[in-house]
Symmetry: C2
């Protein structure tokens, strides 16, 4: 597996675009297109929130219906959530507009929105945006960059990843982009993410690979504990790599899954590290847990703790808050048995053992907590399972951004 | 039922004290005593956190063991949590010191601690503090005030409440004090709270009344989602009111429960309103829910949402975040059916109906959100159950306080 530059246009046969449509933001790109001339099989996972945005309902029907997919239209600025019947009609109008200018069928168009909940979309601007997108679409890295920029809301950087693998002697590529900075607490998945691949794989295995991998990637990040109404992760596969069809589990499927995992983990970490207001990526690795489920529960509880996140921001080795967060996670364990480490780029130090503080240096601990990527390792000493979760610190800027988001 | 001034010394036969012991804080009271010459029956609920502070373990043994209780010794500054075997030994030493100076038995002394996790208690200062407390204890309102101040950590105001009721022709009093500002997310109960009453009631009914009432009071508040290691709520009843013993459910028990509820709700709201950095008490009332459990789940999900809390701080009617929080709560409902209102002191406005924004005035909404107590009413239109939860807004000061707590 080789990491390459690029995103949704890395795989063969995929084009993209990002344009200024003025949906809500001014003087920046706010609409994106992903397009494949060849028909794609699709797989997707969507928000578990009972309150689902209209595009989530539209996309679920198409992805679960099994139609070929040719295009995805995304807008940022307005989420098209809590918009009633009009909101769903707007999805259909957007798909119609795309079908018309791209010469494809309406039910091969997925749509996605992200931004403020409750506002209605200005459809004249959206349909004009669709035409602009179709006019400038290209299969270049630059076009992928434009799309990745256009889907950002409070994100500070675009987020893309791409890898190549070899299956049956053919080069296969998976690339993707995502956005997400606030309202990030995945339960299924929480954000917008779009992956494209030229792998030849059945819809069933594509969906299975995605659903399985999300549990250890996008579902293991959190910025603020708020599971969004719009969360969408979609993979489109157009089969242009020409590899022998992956139609059963086996070596080829495993290679594909590894590559998919690399993309998902990279994008998920980028999202957590770019959490609203964040100054650090905050990683928690739970090792030697009694079960995988318990390892996940413990790791997520730590990265979700507001108090721990604030301590990371303050570079304060207030490890009691981590113990506290493990303790209320729901997992059952003996606090006297476990060990806690802080790990940075160059060193790792023991912080807690035998039910109390280890003999560590506060200065060394503060140094580790000042790095841009901070890792806490929790050794449960109970079994063989492990899990990793990613979050970020809680800062003044998180409050500033969210006390002032709509204006 | 009559609301009176005072706290833990309001009920007959209870004394209190608060002194400077220099446990960790300087130039402020940091140790408190509650004392009853007459033996008390006790009831208590404690943190559900797997990581329990040593005093929680000590108190549970005594409260569940059924011994008479005479005194409670509390310190602030250091939580005596994650302190290993030494931490538990410190509880015994504190109880020994109190038993000796007060002339009572060691197992009639409850202890409680609140503050930084992981630090060891300076026992010389604690035992000296116990002697000071015994020397100045009094049954005055001022002594109760001193105790309420001594147990504060990041609290900005002491929190007390007291009521009188009449049972069997006798005046009965319940009073209490609590502290709690951060690491507040009750699950059983989250904070330190001490109630005293001169009611004559059996231990069984006292425990039953407490356990039941906590579900709609202390367990319905949250500041930051972090369930503490030290949460303790204790009621001491010394029977000095001389009312006929409450030994069975019935009219007298109901009167007592109402009074207990008034104290618990008052203290719980004070705690939420004084959440770390808070500028507003944020109340969510869920009405017409299908079940009590669902009503509680929905109400708590809203007051726990970081994004909603930040919007309250910004006085921004970003109601989509409330819908979002209802949607990920775990409760199942049809978003098209429910209605949302913002309510202030003088008016209430409809915000959301039929799956989309109602025709409300942004200015009126912002006015309501600028009040010191903000209420969101969610009408589920599904049944007869209701529940109320209390939290606070998320502010720069929450981050400041918690990025810098240990220093």
């Amino acid at each position: 597996m080789e990491l390459i530059t690029g995103g949704v246009t890395a795989a063969k046969g995929f084009m993209a675009a990002g344009v200024e449509a003025g949906v809500k933001y001014e003087n920046r790109k706010d609409m994106a297109l992903i397009y494949s001339t060849a028909p794609c099989v699709s797989a997707g996972v969507f928000t578990s929130n009972v309150v689902k945005a209209a595009p989530v309902i539209w996309d679920r029907e198409i992805v679960h219906g099994g139609q070929d997919v040719h295009a995805v239209i995304v807008n940022s600025g307005i989420a098209n959530a809590c918009t009633g019947r009009r909101g769903y009609a707007y999805c259909a109008q957007t798909a119609d507009a795309a079908a018309s200018v791209l010469g494809i069928s309406r039910d091969s168009v997925l749509v996605a929105s992200t931004g403020v909940i409750g506002m209605q979309l200005p459809m004249d601007k959206v349909t004009a945006g669709v035409s602009k997108l179709a006019a400038v679409k290209a299969d270049t890295t630059a076009a992928g960059d434009d799309a990745a920029q256009a889907i950002m809301t409070t994100d500070t950087v675009p987020k893309q990843a791409a890898v190549t693998i070899e299956i049956g002697g053919k080069k296969v590529t998976i690339g993707g982009m995502c956005k997400g900075s606030g309202m990030i607490h995945p339960n299924m998945c929480t954000m917008l993410a779009f992956l494209t691949t030229d792998a030849c794989i059945t819809k069933e295995l594509l969906q299975e690979a995605l659903r399985h991998d999300v549990q250890d990637t996008f579902n293991m990040i959190s910025v603020d504990g708020d599971t969004s109404t719009n969360d969408t992760l979609i993979v489109l596969s157009n089969g242009q790599a020409g590899n022998p069809l992956i139609a059963a589990r086996g070596k080829d499927y495993e290679i594909f899954c590894e590559a998919l995992h690399a993309i998902n983990e990279t994008l998920a970490k980028k999202m957590a590290g770019d959490g609203e207001g964040a100054t650090a990526l905050f990683e928690t690795k739970v090792i030697h847990a009694a079960s995988k489920e318990e390892a996940r529960t413990l790791a997520k509880s730590v990265i979700c703790s507001s108090l721990t996140k604030a301590a990371i921001f303050g570079h304060d080795a207030n490890w009691g808050r981590i113990l506290c967060a493990l303790g209320y996670s729901g997992a059952v364990f003996d606090p006297e048995q476990i060990e806690l480490y802080f790990a940075g780029k160059s060193k790792s130090i023991l912080i807690y053992k035998d039910g109390q503080a280890a003999d560590y240096s506060e200065q060394e601990a503060a140094e580790i907590l000042s790095e841009p990527e901070v890792t806490v390792v929790v050794d449960m000493k109970a079994g063989q399972a492990s899990a990793t979760a990613w979050g970020c610190d809680l800062t003044y800027d998180y409050v500033r951004i969210n006390a002032d988001y709509r204006s």
